[in-house]
């Protein structure tokens, strides 16, 4: 079963002669339980593709099916539900909410899902334990190192137990030790059956994936 089906997707910025193609017709698919790496140089459109897959952005043309459902047919509320339940997104720049404890950050998707506070806290603590940050739960993001912040972000992406985990250069801002920690967490998650798509431009990161998609100037090569 295909989790992601992308069919001839384009994404353009600007109009007329100034039109820039970020994606110039991308067709690909990802099966359940796969671990896929997207590689490409800066400006190749890999982040744009990732944002479309994560339902954070919409394509200019083409269709995107998530679990067989055409995303363009979903309304605002349904999209919020998809982002909340189906997808866990890890950003390169962590995107934790400032001045809010690690625990509260991880609890956030559960709160939007309507999970009761007590259960929410238990599940958030479990997710933090999974990334090895159980003892840092009450720390604010600015009291954590980059690697720790990224692990909080991964815990936040995991806490709703989404089938699909998307990671946009999760190790891009991290040192080698943090990188290997993050990668082993992702390996374990994949071993548990999660579908993982990650962006990277480092070959040894891509080596963890089953399959690598190379992007160049908005096309798969």
């Amino acid at each position: 079963m295909k989790v992601i089906e992308v069919n001839d997707i384009t994404k353009t910025y600007g109009e007329g002669e100034a039109t820039v193609y970020a994606l110039a017709g991308v067709t690909t698919s990802v099966a359940q339980g796969e671990y896929v790496a997207i590689m490409g140089s800066s400006g190749s459109g890999k982040s744009t593709l990732m944002h479309i897959i994560g339902c954070l952005d919409v394509p200019t043309s083409g269709t995107y099916r998530l679990d067989g459902v055409d995303v363009s047919e979903l309304n605002e509320t349904q999209l919020a539900l998809v982002r909340n339940r189906r997808i866990g997104f890890v950003f390169q720049s962590f995107n934790l909410i400032p001045r809010t404890s690690a625990l509260a950050n991880v609890e956030l998707p559960l709160a939007y899902a309507g999970v009761k506070p007590k259960q929410r806290k238990e599940r958030a603590m479990a997710a933090l334990d999974l990334v090895g940050l159980g003892d840092r739960a009450e720390h604010d993001p600015n009291q954590l190192s980059g690697g720790q912040q990224q692990r909080v972000a991964i815990a936040r992406a995991l806490v709703t137990e989404p089938a699909l985990l998307l990671a946009d250069e999760p190790t891009g801002n991290l040192d080698s030790r943090s990188t290997s920690e993050i990668l082993s967490i992702l390996d374990n998650l994949n071993a548990d059956g999660r579908t993982i798509v990650l962006i990277t431009h480092e070959n040894d990161v891509a080596a963890h994936a089953h399959r690598v998609i190379h992007l160049l100037d908005g096309r798969i090569v």
Binding site: R99, P109, T160
Partner: protein
């Protein structure tokens, strides 16, 4: 997600940046407080003018003698006791008090005090001029008949001459003549330049005999039977005076009549103008305060566009984000506004540039209403704009 949960989110949002929340509330506090206090000061000064004028008596007329250059009638135009007696015939006049006035130095055991108004008059003057005898008593009509050397002192005069002793029964020198103090007036409070408490009042005949001589009298204080009858009384008095003095051209009459209620009306009108002016200033402060609130709310929420993007990426429904920011804006506006009202009410207990502010309740409603409405709108509008963005656009916002 229940409303209570969203409310807790909002509380956390307000608490997450205490400095920013504090400054926002301070802005609203100052906006609301300034408007309420400004209107209260204007209102207070208007009330003060009204009160002090009412203390002077509103149902009196003052006839002042004096010849204008063109008023050559061939008849005596001085105000005399005969003229004053004739005015008693007017039906709407309650009392007539002729007044002679001179400036004298009062002495008591080496203490000297110069009094601008040493007044010789009838006992009816006390009631007509709202002068209440606090200690001792006023002089009686018999004292006027017998030209008794008795005197009633104003409160300022009394404290100047008798800082420590009781003045009643003491003998004071007035321009070299000895008078016995029989009473002290209750303080009226100062209005403007003249101090109405720095006076000395004695029987007309005694003052004429001892100090001024038997020339024309300076003025006549007339009390009408009621405040409503003042204008009728003025017409009657004018008719009598014109007849006695053979005035043909009323435009150049050899006397002037001052009407206390007219004076009051003029002063009240002035005070009202003052209030309107202050109201305009308050409206401008409200506008400026409102722009300040707009500014700080816009900046505060726009700054959090990225946070809204993160929340959307995590699957927050738009409604939940909007509710959270609306509650945050409500909390900031209401707490800030409430503190502003409290500060204004507290500040209104103190005198500001000599004026006791009197808070106008409608100004509280107006200032609070406008500020909270502005705070709510400009707190929730940028949030709704940000929540309507695609998550990626909100996340990219710098």
């Amino acid at each position: 997600m229940s409303l209570w949960e969203v409310f807790k989110f909002a509380l956390r949002g307000v608490g997450a940046n205490k400095l920013r929340s504090g400054l926002t509330m301070l802005g609203i506090l100052i906006g609301v407080g300034a408007v309420i206090l400004l209107v209260a000061v204007g209102n207070g000064s208007a009330k003060a003018v009204e009160k002090s004028l009412q203390a002077l008596g509103t149902n009196t007329l003052t006839v002042q003698g004096g010849r204008t250059a063109n008023a050559r009638t061939g008849y005596s135009t001085d105000l005399t006791l005969d003229v004053a007696e004739a005015l008693k015939a007017a039906p709407d006049v309650k009392s007539v008090s002729p007044v002679v006035q001179s400036s004298q130095t009062l002495t008591y055991e080496g203490t000297e005090h110069s009094v601008q108004q040493v007044i010789g008059t009838y006992p009816s003057y006390f009631e007509a001029s709202n002068s209440v005898v606090e200690t001792g008593s006023a002089f009686a009509p018999e004292d006027v008949d017998q030209a008794s050397r008795v005197i009633v002192l104003g409160s300022t005069t009394a404290t100047e001459l008798f800082p420590e002793t009781d003045p009643i029964g003491k003998q004071v020198g007035v321009g070299g003549q000895i008078f016995t103090v029989v009473g002290v007036l209750k303080a009226k409070g100062s209005i403007g330049l003249a101090n109405p408490d720095d006076v000395a009042i004695a029987p007309l005949s005694a003052v004429q005999r001892a100090l001024t001589g038997y020339g024309p009298i300076n003025s006549i204080l007339i009390e009408a039977i009621s405040a409503d009858a003042v204008n009728v009384a003025q017409a009657e008095v004018t008719a009598i005076l014109n007849e006695r003095m053979h005035v043909t051209n009323t435009a150049s009459a050899p006397y002037t009549i001052r009407n206390a209620s007219q004076l009051l009306e003029t002063r009240t009108a002035t005070a009202e103008t003052f209030t309107v002016l202050l109201g305009a200033v308050a409206a401008i402060s409200l506008l400026v305060g409102g722009i300040g609130i707009t500014n700080i709310m816009m900046v505060t929420v726009t700054e959090r566009t990225r946070e809204i993007g993160i929340r959307k990426a995590l699957g927050a429904p738009r409604r939940v984000i909007l509710t959270q920011f609306l509650i945050e804006a409500t909390l900031l506006s209401l707490i800030g506004g409430g503190l502003g009202v409290a500060a204004a009410l507290l500040g209104a207990n103190f005198k500001i540039v000599g004026i006791q502010p009197v808070v106008v309740p409608s100004s509280i409603a107006l200032a609070l209403g406008v500020s909270v409405a502005i705070g709510l709108f400009f707190g929730s509008y940028p949030a709704s704009r940000a929540a309507a963005l695609r998550p990626i656009d909100a996340l990219r916002y710098e």
